[in-house]
C-alpha cells in the first residue's frame, strides 16, 4: 500500500510543470449553421463539464492538448484536441450509431473515452429505459444487455427483480451493485421467500427493494459494468457487477417542462389449463367426482389491470447554476382483485459553481413513497391463486363470492367455503383472503447527496461526496377470525413488520489527468471511502398460538402474548482506500492498473479484518496501429485480470444470544470451534475485441471471461450434539467458476433519407461449476431451498452447474418402464434426483428500430435457451383433479402409460385417479412436472409518432406511441412464464407454486416538452 502512495507522490511532482490551463470559448452549430443549445462538453478523463447556452456558445477551462468531447443526443459526438487557439467552433452532424468517440460513465462516476476501456461495459440510453416503460426500471433491461439475466418476481407491480450478471458466483448474494451518479445505492430488500409451502407469517411475499422504487424518467442512461475489472473500485459490493445510473443533467440556458404519461392495460396471460367435465364429490376438496359440466374457465377471477405512470420534470439552468425538479406518480391496479399500487416520486437536483467555477457543488434529494394493497404472494398459504385454481368444482367462483356468513353463536361474520366443514391452510376461500386477510406494503425511500468537486489545478481535481440513504419497508396484515386455524389464531391475527435500513457513504477522490509527453498520457484516481450500513427491524406478530385477546381488533395492545414480537438488526462498516491509473501510449495503447484495500467490520475477531485486491488491464487499438482495409473503421483488443474480495455476513464472528419472549436463545450459527473465517475472493480474467466497419454501420463486440470465486462464506449444518447448540457452522469453502462469452452485434441495415432500420443482437452464454463443497457436514450439497415435505429442492451440488433442481421420479423397471406394484399402483422413488437446472445455457436479445419519417417502431425479442423449470402448480392441479390433463385422461378412459408389473406383464393404461393420486401433488413424482425453460418472447413493441417541431404551438416537442410489453411467446414449453421467479433471492428458482400468472401489457405513451 505504501508503495502505491509513494508512486503517486512521484507522479504528482512530475506533473506540476506539465499542465497549462486556459479558457476555451466557442460555439456549436448544426449542419445548417443554426446554433445548438444544450450540447454537453466534457473533458476526456475528467469530471469537468460545460454545456452550450441558448445561442450555442460555451466556455470551459481546460489544459492544452486535452480532448474536449461534444455530445448531444442524436448528433455525432465530436472530439477536439485543445491546441494553441483559445477558440473552438464545432459543427455537429447527425450521429452515426455507436460512434467511435463515445464517452462512457465508469466506476466512481468518472467519464472515459470508450475506446480506452480494458473491459466490457455496455450502455443503455435513457430512451431505451423508458420507451416501453415498466414501473420497475430494471425490468426494461431484459434482453438489452449481453450477459445480464433479468428475472422478475411474481408479486406484480412494485415487485423486485433478480439481476444476474455473468452467472451466479456466490452462494449467498448474486445481485449487482447499483450506483447512482457515482454513489453506491443501498438496495437492501426486506424479505424474500424461500419455501414451497409459503411463509407462515403472511405468505410468500416479496418485500420489495429500493431500485424498483426509483423513477425511470430521472435518468439519462445506464452503464452495466459486467466484470470484476470494471467493478474493482467498488470493492466487495461490486463483485457481482455494477449497474451505473446517471441522472439527467440540465442543459445550460434552457428552461424546460416535460410531461410524460403512460397508460397500460395488463391482462393475465399463460394461465394453467383446467378441465370442465368433472365435479367434486360432496365434502371432498378435490374434483374427482361424477362426470358433469363444471366451470372450466377461471379467467373471470382476474381483473384487467391498469398502470398509469405520469411523470414531469421542470428544469432551468443559468450560468453557474442549474435546478431541476421531477415528480412522478404511478397508480396501478393489479390483475388480482384488491391489489393496488400507488407511488409518488419526488426529486430535486441543484448544482452551482463557485470561486470562478473552480468549485462545483451538486445537491440532490429524492423521496419515494409507495403503498401496495394486497401485494400478491405465492405458495400455498394466504394465496388466493391457490384457492382459485384448487377449489372443488362442485362450486363455481361465483358461489365463493359469498365469502362470509353471519354466525349467530359468535356474533361475527365467519368464513364461508361452500362444501367444506373446515377450511384448511391450502384451501381457503380466495375472496375471504382478499377481503379478510388484507395486507398493506409501504416502502419509503429517501436519498440525499452532496457532491463537491474542486479543481485544485489543471491536472488535479479533488472530489468528495456524501450520501445518506434511508429505506423503510412496512408490512401489515390483518387476518380475521375463522381463517385457517393453522395460519391464524381462532380470534384473528395481526402482523405489523417494519424495517428501516440506512446507509451513510462518504468518499474523497483525487483525480490526476495529464500527458507526460506527446506520446504518453496518464490519468489516475486515488481515494478513500467509508460505507456504513445499518438496518433495524421491528416485527410484531400476534401469532398463530397466542393470537388476539378480543377478536378482530388489530392492535398491539390486543396481543395475547409477546412471543411473536422480535427486533432484528444488521450493521456493517467497510472502510477502503483505492487507486486506479491509466497509462496511454500514442492514444492507441492503454494500460490500466487498480488496487483496493478494504477493512470490514464483519471480519473482526478473525485473523485479519483487512483484505487487498488488484486489477490490471490492457487495450490496443489495432485499427490505429496497423494498416487496415478501407472498410474497417475501428478495431481493438483488450484483456484484463482482476480480483475482488468480499467480506462475510455481519455478526457471525461475534455470536450473541437472541431473546424471544424473554427467553435467551442460543446463537444459531457460529464459526466451527478452532477455526476462523476469511473473506471470499473472486478472480476473473476477460479478453475481448471490438470492431466497427462500413462507416460504423456494422459493429460487434466479443468478450470471453473466466471467473472463479473461492473461499465462499457458507453455513453448513452442525452435528446436533455440538456443545454450543449451533444449528450451523459458518465456514469458508466452496468455489464457483463461471466461463462464458458475450457477443454484441449491431447493424444499420437500412440508412436512407426516409427509412432507417437499426438492429442489435445481444448474445451471451455462461457455464458454471460448483466445486469444493465439503464432503463433511453437507455431503457435497448445499441446499438453497429446503423441500420440507414437498418434492422440490434447490441445491448446489459438487461438480455440477450452479442451481440444480431436484425432484423425485416414478419407480421404473430395468427397461425404463413404469413399475406397477402388486396393488396395481405406481410408486415414487424415495431418493432425490436431479431433474433440471434453473439457469439458462444462453440468452439472446434481438432488437430492431425502424424509422420512417416521423414514425418510429421498435421491437425487442428476448430469448432464454436451456435450463428447466418445475411446476408444483401443475402437479397440485393434477392431484386435485382440476387440470385439463386430468379431465382429458378421464374422458379417454385412463392415462396411457408404458408400464409393467414386476413379473414383466405390460400395463398400458391406468385409471386416471390412481395414476395422479400416486404421481401428482406437491410431494409426488415431481420429475414428471419438469419443463424446458427455453422461451422466446416478444418483450417490447412500440410504434411512435413524433410531431413536427415547427408546427407545434408553444411546445418544443411532442410524441405519442403505442406500446406493448410481453406481447406473446414465440416459443415456450413451460405452462407458466419461466422469466418470473417466486423469489429474487437465491432460493426458490426454477419452480412455480401458484405464482401470479404473468401479464401482457398494452398501452399508450405520451411525451410533451414545453
Amino acid at each position: 500500500m505504501k508503495k502505491i502512495i509513494s508512486i503517486f507522490m512521484i507522479l504528482f511532482t512530475v506533473q506540476v510543470s506539465l499542465a497549462q490551463v486556459k479558457t476555451i470559448k466557442g460555439s456549436v452549430t448544426d449542419g445548417s449553421g443554426a446554433p445548438i443549445p444544450g450540447v454537453n462538453i466534457n473533458v476526456q478523463g475528467e469530471t469537468a463539464s460545460a454545456s452550450t447556452d441558448f445561442d450555442g456558445n460555451f466556455s470551459i477551462q481546460v489544459a492544452k492538448s486535452k480532448t474536449l468531447i461534444f455530445s448531444y443526443l442524436g448528433l455525432e459526438t465530436k472530439n477536439v484536441v485543445v491546441g494553441e487557439s483559445n477558440t473552438i467552433n464545432v459543427k455537429m452532424t447527425e450521429a452515426a450509431t455507436n460512434s467511435l468517440n463515445e464517452v462512457v460513465v465508469t466506476s466512481l462516476g468518472i467519464t472515459k473515452a470508450r475506446k480506452t476501456l480494458t473491459y466490457s461495459a455496455q450502455e443503455l440510453k435513457g430512451e431505451e429505459l423508458t420507451r416501453v416503460k415498466d414501473a420497475n426500471i430494471i425490468n426494461t433491461v431484459a434482453g438489452k444487455i449481453a450477459g445480464v439475466a433479468i428475472t422478475k418476481s411474481s408479486s406484480g407491480s412494485g415487485g423486485s427483480t433478480k439481476v444476474t450478471i455473468r452467472g451466479n458466483s456466490s452462494f449467498t448474494n448474486n445481485q449487482p451493485l447499483y450506483v447512482i451518479d457515482g454513489i453506491p445505492l443501498s438496495n437492501g430488500g426486506s424479505v424474500q421467500p424461500n419455501g414451497t409451502f409459503g411463509d407462515l407469517a403472511g405468505g410468500n411475499r416479496d418485500g420489495g427493494d429500493v431500485v424498483s422504487l426509483i423513477n425511470p424518467d430521472d435518468y439519462e442512461g445506464m452503464t452495466v459494468l459486467k466484470g470484476a475489472a470494471a467493478s474493482v473500485l467498488y470493492g466487495s459490493q461490486g463483485a457481482n457487477g455494477v449497474i451505473l445510473l446517471s441522472s439527467k443533467k440540465v442543459k445550460a440556458g434552457v428552461e424546460t417542462f416535460n410531461v410524460n404519461s403512460v397508460t397500460t392495460f395488463d391482462s393475465v396471460a399463460y394461465l394453467p389449463e383446467f378441465q370442465s367435465d368433472y365435479t367434486s364429490a360432496v365434502g371432498d376438496a378435490k374434483s374427482w367426482g361424477a362426470k358433469q359440466k363444471v366451470e372450466g374457465d377461471i379467467k373471470g377471477f382476474f381483473n384487467t389491470g391498469t398502470t398509469q405512470i405520469t411523470s414531469m420534470a421542470f428544469s432551468k439552468a443559468t450560468d453557474g447554476a442549474s435546478t431541476s425538479f421531477t415528480y412522478a406518480n404511478t397508480d396501478a391496479s393489479g390483475v388480482i382483485p384488491g391489489n393496488h399500487l400507488k407511488k409518488n416520486n419526488f426529486g430535486i437536483r441543484q448544482a452551482s459553481k463557485f470561486f470562478n467555477d473552480r468549485l462545483n457543488v451538486a445537491v440532490t434529494a429524492n423521496y419515494v413513497s409507495q403503498k401496495i394493497n394486497n401485494r400478491p404472494v405465492n405458495g400455498l398459504y394466504f394465496n388466493p391463486v391457490s384457492g382459485v385454481y384448487s377449489h372443488p368444482r362442485a362450486f363455481s367462483l361465483s358461489d365463493l363470492k359469498t365469502y362470509e356468513v353471519f354466525d349467530v353463536t359468535k356474533n361475527w361474520n365467519a368464513q364461508n367455503y361452500p362444501g367444506f366443514a373446515a377450511v384448511s391452510e391450502s384451501n381457503e376461500n380466495p375472496y375471504w383472503q382478499i377481503n379478510r386477510q388484507k395486507s398493506v406494503d409501504i416502502n419509503n425511500f429517501f436519498n440525499g447527496a452532496v457532491a463537491l468537486d474542486y479543481k485544485v489545478s489543471d491536472w488535479f481535481r479533488l472530489t468528495s461526496r456524501y450520501s445518506y440513504n434511508r429505506s423503510e419497508s412496512n408490512f401489515q396484515k390483518e387476518m380475521y377470525a375463522t381463517s385457517a386455524a393453522s395460519l391464524v389464531h381462532p380470534k384473528g391475527r395481526y402482523i405489523n413488520s417494519n424495517t428501516i435500513a440506512t446507509q451513510n457513504y462518504a468518499d474523497i477522490i483525487g483525480l490526476i489527468n495529464t500527458n507526460f509527453s506527446e506520446d504518453f498520457s496518464f490519468s489516475g484516481t486515488i481515494g478513500a471511502s467509508i460505507n456504513n450500513g445499518k438496518s433495524a427491524g421491528l416485527n410484531l406478530d400476534s401469532g398463530i398460538g397466542g393470537g388476539l385477546r378480543n377478536a378482530n381488533i388489530f392492535t398491539l395492545g390486543n396481543f395475547a402474548n409477546n412471543n411473536g414480537n422480535v427486533q432484528t438488526a444488521y450493521q456493517r462498516e467497510v472502510q477502503s482506500v483505492f487507486a486506479a491509473t491509466t497509462f496511454g501510449y500514442k492514444d492507441v495503447l492503454f494500460l490500466d492498473a487498480a488496487a483496493r484495500n478494504d477493512w470490514s467490520s464483519t471480519l473482526v475477531n478473525t485473523d485479519n479484518p483487512s483484505f487487498f485486491y488488484p486489477s490490471v488491464g490492457l487495450t490496443a487499438i489495432i485499427s490505429e496501429m496497423t494498416e487496415m482495409p478501407e472498410f474497417i473503421n475501428f478495431g481493438k483488443v483488450r484483456a484484463t485480470y482482476a480480483q475482488v474480495g468480499n467480506d462475510i455476513a455481519a455478526f457471525i464472528t461475534k455470536p450473541t444470544y437472541s431473546i424471544v419472549a424473554g427467553q435467551p436463545i442460543n446463537p444459531p450459527v457460529g464459526p466451527r470451534p478452532g477455526t476462523t473465517l476469511k473473506p471470499e475472493l473472486k478472480s476473473e480474467y476477460e479478453i475481448g475485441t471490438e470492431w466497427r466497419m462500413f462507416n460504423n454501420r456494422l459493429g460487434f463486440e466479443v468478450s470471453y471471461y473466466d471467473s472463479q470465486t473461492k473461499n465462499q462464506y457458507l453455513q453448513v449444518p452442525a452435528e446436533s450434539t455440538n456443545e454450543n447448540g449451533y444449528l450451523n457452522y459458518a465456514i469458508n469453502a466452496g468455489s464457483i467458476s463461471n466461463k462464458g462469452f458475450e457477443v454484441v452485434l449491431f447493424a444499420d441495415l437500412v440508412k436512407s433519407e426516409k427509412f432507417n432500420w437499426e438492429s442489435r443482437i445481444n448474445y451471451s452464454q455462461n457455464k458454471s461449476k460448483v466445486n469444493d463443497i465439503p464432503a463433511q457436514n453437507v455431503e457435497g450439497r448445499i441446499v438453497l431451498t429446503d423441500p420440507g415435505s414437498n418434492n422440490y429442492r434447490y441445491s448446489l451440488v459438487e461438480g455440477k452447474p450452479f442451481g440444480i433442481i431436484e425432484g423425485k421420479n416414478i419407480q421404473k423397471d430395468a427397461q425404463g418402464r413404469l413399475l406397477v406394484g402388486d396393488n396395481g399402483k405406481l410408486s415414487v422413488n424415495a431418493d432425490w434426483e436431479e431433474v433440471g437446472n434453473a439457469n439458462p445455457d444462453f440468452m439472446l436479445g434481438f432488437s430492431n428500430t425502424f424509422k420512417f419519417g416521423a414514425f418510429t417502431a421498435n421491437i425487442l425479442i428476448d430469448g432464454r435457451f436451456g435450463g428447466e423449470v418445475l411446476s408444483l402448480t401443475e402437479a397440485i392441479n393434477d392431484f386435485n383433479g382440476v387440470s385439463k390433463a386430468s379431465g382429458d385422461a378421464r374422458n379417454a378412459g385412463g392415462v396411457k402409460i408404458n408400464g409393467a408389473k414386476a413379473d414383466g406383464t405390460a400395463v398400458t393404461t391406468m385409471d386416471t385417479f390412481d395414476y395422479y393420486d400416486k404421481t401428482a401433488g406437491r410431494n409426488g413424482a415431481t420429475g414428471e412436472y419438469v419443463y424446458d425453460a427455453t422461451n422466446v418472447n416478444v418483450r417490447e413493441v412500440s410504434i411512435g409518432y413524433t410531431f413536427n417541431k415547427t408546427k407545434l404551438p408553444f411546445m418544443q416537442s411532442a410524441s405519442i406511441s403505442l406500446i406493448a410489453r410481453n406481447l406473446f411467446f414465440i416459443y415456450k414449453d413451460a405452462p407458466f412464464d419461466p422469466n418470473v421467479a417466486l423469489s429474487t433471492g437465491e432460493g426458490l428458482q426454477g419452480v412455480d407454486v401458484f405464482g401470479l400468472p404473468s401479464t401482457r401489457s398494452i398501452g399508450l405513451n405520451l411525451n410533451l416538452t414545453f
Binding site: 373446515a422 477493512w599 467490520s601 437472541s658 431473546i659 446436533s720 447448540g725
Partner: protein, 521 residues
C-alpha cells in the same frame, strides 16, 4: 455524538489514518438486539434462562409441525393412540419404511434445544448454585430417558468433551440413576431446611418451583426408569424402584402431584393436527379398547365421528390410505387435548408402576390390586370422568372388534381378551395394568410405545401394509429409531461408537438393551 462521528469519519477519510479506524469494529459487529453473556450474568439470568427450553421442547409445544415429526408420526402412531391416515409418499413410518428426516428430529431437537442449555447450566451452576445443577440434572434425565428409549445409545457422558461419542443404553441408565441421586439429595436437603425455592421465576410447570414437588417428580421418574429395566436387570430395578418409593418425600400419590406444564403459546399441537390440519384421528386400538369397556374417558379423549354419526370411529394404522382425505370423517381428538396443558407424568402412571412393582414382589407400599385400582381412580379424576368404581368392578366387558366402514378388508377381531376387574392370573394382571396405564398415559405415545415394546401390552392391531421388505417384522413392530441423519453426516466418529454400543444394525428392527425377548416374569 454526531460531532464525534463526523470527526471520526473525517479522520478515516484521510488516507494516512485509514489504518487505525477499525477500533470500533467489534461494536459494529455486535448485534444490538442480541444479548451477550456479560449482560445475562446480571440477576443470574445466564443460569435461570437455561431451563425454559426444556419445558418448551421435551414435548414440543410451540410449533405444530415440529411436534408432528418429534413424536406424532412415530410413537403416537405405533402406540395405537392416533394415526395420520395419509399416504405421505414413499417413506412412511406407519408402513415401517422409516423416514429418516422425521425420525432424526426428536434427537436433534433434544440436543440443540435442551441438552446444550442444560450443559451450560451445569458449567455455570455446579458447585456454586447446586440447586440449579440438581434441577438441570432432573430435566436432563427426563429428556435423555425419552431419547435413549427411542434410539438406544446416545451422547451422555461425552457431551461437551470434544468429539461427541456415544454411551451404551446400559451406561446411560446407570448415569441417569446417579444423576437423580445427586438431584434428589440436594433438593431434599434444601426442602428440609425450609429454603425458599430459587426456581419459581423460571419454572413453567404448575409446581411453581417447589423443591418437594420436583423431588417427587424425580422419584417418580426413577420408578419409571426402574420398571423399564425390570426385565434386563431385575436386581438394579428393584433397588432403584424401592429407593424411589421409600424416599421421605416419595412419589406422586395425589392426582395433583402429576407434572404438568403449560404451553407458553397456549397452543395444543395435537388439537391443531387433528382439527385444523384434519390430519390426526383416533386409533383403531383406542376405539376397540375404550369402546369395548364403554370407558367414560372416551368422550374426554375423542369426538364422535362424522362417518358413523354419534359413534366413535378410529382408523387402523399401517393400512393402505387411498388418499389424504379418505379417513377425514373419522373421530378427531376431544376436550383432553384442547388446552395448552401438557402432562409430562401423571399420578395414575405412578400407581400403575407401583402396581407392577408389587406384582413383581417389590416393596411398593401397597398391594398390586389396590395400587392398580388407585391408578384407575386417579386417571378418572385427572380427566374429570365419573363412574370409576363401577368401571373397576367390571368383569364382563371386553375390547370390541374393529369395523372399518369404508373398507371391510381392514376389519379386525379384538386381540385383547381381558376385562378391567383385577383377576388372579399374574400375566393377565400385568396385561391389565399396562392396558390401563396405556389408557391413562394418553396422549404420550412415546411412553406407551416403550411399555408396549417392554411388555407386549396392550395387545395392538398389527399393520397390514408392511412395506419394509422384511426388515421390520409385522409381529414385533418398530423397535427403535435409527440415529439422527445430522449425526450420521456430521459426527461420523460418534456414530461409529453408537453403532458399536448398539450391538446391532442401525435400523428400526434392532432391539434396545432393556427390550429383551425374555418373558415378562
Amino acid at each position: 455524538m454526531t460531532i464525534n462521528k463526523i470527526k471520526r469519519t473525517a479522520l478515516c477519510l484521510s488516507l494516512l489514518t485509514a489504518f487505525s479506524c477499525t477500533d470500533n469494529f467489534e461494536d459494529i459487529n455486535t448485534n444490538p438486539e442480541g444479548a451477550t453473556i456479560e449482560q445475562l450474568d446480571q440477576d443470574y439470568n445466564s443460569i435461570k434462562s437455561l431451563f425454559k427450553p426444556a419445558f418448551n421442547h421435551l414435548f414440543i409445544s410451540e410449533t405444530t409441525w415440529q411436534y408432528q415429526i418429534q413424536q406424532s408420526l412415530q410413537a403416537d402412531g405405533w402406540s395405537g393412540y392416533m394415526t395420520t391416515p395419509v399416504p405421505f409418499g414413499p417413506q412412511n413410518n406407519h408402513d415401517y419404511v422409516l423416514n429418516g428426516g422425521w425420525n432424526s428430529y426428536a434427537w436433534d431437537d433434544a440436543y440443540v434445544n435442551i441438552i446444550s442449555y442444560l450443559y451450560k447450566a451445569e458449567q455455570r451452576s455446579k458447585d456454586k448454585f447446586d440447586q440449579f445443577y440438581a434441577w438441570s440434572l432432573i430435566l436432563k434425565v427426563a429428556t435423555m430417558q425419552r431419547i435413549t428409549d427411542m434410539y438406544g445409545p446416545a451422547v451422555y457422558s461425552k457431551f461437551g468433551k470434544g468429539v461427541a461419542t456415544y454411551d451404551s443404553q446400559k451406561e446411560i441408565y446407570t448415569q441417569m440413576f446417579k444423576d437423580l441421586d445427586f438431584a434428589v439429595t440436594e433438593l431434599t436437603k434444601r426442602n428440609a431446611a425450609g429454603e425458599k425455592t430459587a426456581f419459581d421465576e423460571t419454572d413453567l410447570s404448575l409446581y411453581e418451583g417447589k423443591y418437594a414437588n420436583w423431588t417427587k417428580y424425580a422419584n417418580s421418574l426413577r420408578l419409571r426408569m426402574a420398571m423399564r429395566i425390570s426385565k434386563v436387570d431385575p436386581a438394579l430395578a428393584k433397588v432403584e424402584a424401592e429407593k424411589a418409593v421409600s424416599h421421605s418425600l416419595g412419589v406422586f400419590t395425589a392426582t395433583a402431584d402429576g407434572l404438568k406444564i403449560k404451553s407458553p403459546t397456549d397452543l395444543n399441537v395435537i388439537d391443531v393436527m387433528s382439527h385444523s390440519w384434519v390430519g390426526l384421528f383416533m386409533g383403531a386400538d383406542m376405539e376397540s379398547i375404550l369402546g369395548g369397556y364403554q370407558d367414560p374417558r372416551i368422550s374426554k379423549y375423542w369426538n364422535t365421528s362424522k362417518v358413523t354419526p354419534g359413534e366413535y370411529k378410529g382408523v387402523r394404522t399401517g393400512i393402505i390410505y387411498p388418499s389424504g382425505s379418505t379417513y377425514s370423517k373419522f373421530s378427531q381428538t376431544g376436550p383432553r387435548t384442547k388446552t395448552g396443558e401438557i402432562t409430562w407424568m401423571s399420578t395414575a402412571e405412578v400407581y400403575f408402576l407401583r402396581a407392577e412393582g408389587a406384582l413383581r414382589g417389590w416393596n411398593m407400599g401397597g398391594t398390586a390390586q389396590s395400587l392398580y385400582e388407585a391408578g384407575i381412580k386417579s386417571s378418572f379424576e385427572q380427566n374429570g370422568a365419573e363412574g370409576a368404581t363401577a368401571y373397576i368392578a367390571d368383569n364382563t366387558k371386553l375390547p370390541k372388534d374393529y369395523v372399518d366402514p369404508l373398507n371391510p378388508a381392514n376389519n379386525a377381531q379384538a386381540i385383547s381378551k381381558i376385562t378391567v376387574a383385577w383377576g388372579t392370573d399374574k400375566e393377565k394382571n400385568l396385561e391389565k395394568i399396562i392396558t390401563q396405564k396405556w389408557i391413562a398415559t394418553y396422549p404420550d405415545g412415546q411412553e406407551a410405545w416403550s411399555e408396549f415394546r417392554r411388555t407386549g401390552y396392550p395387545k395392538l392391531f398389527r399393520i397390514s401394509n408392511n412395506q419394509s421388505n422384511g426388515l421390520i417384522s409385522t409381529e414385533l413392530g418398530v423397535r427403535r429409531l435409527a440415529f439422527s441423519d445430522s449425526e450420521v453426516a456430521n459426527n461420523k466418529e460418534g456414530i461409529a461408537s453408537g453403532v458399536a454400543a448398539l450391538g446391532g444394525l442401525d435400523n428400526g428392527a434392532t432391539r434396545l438393551w432393556w427390550d429383551t425377548s425374555a418373558p415378562n416374569f
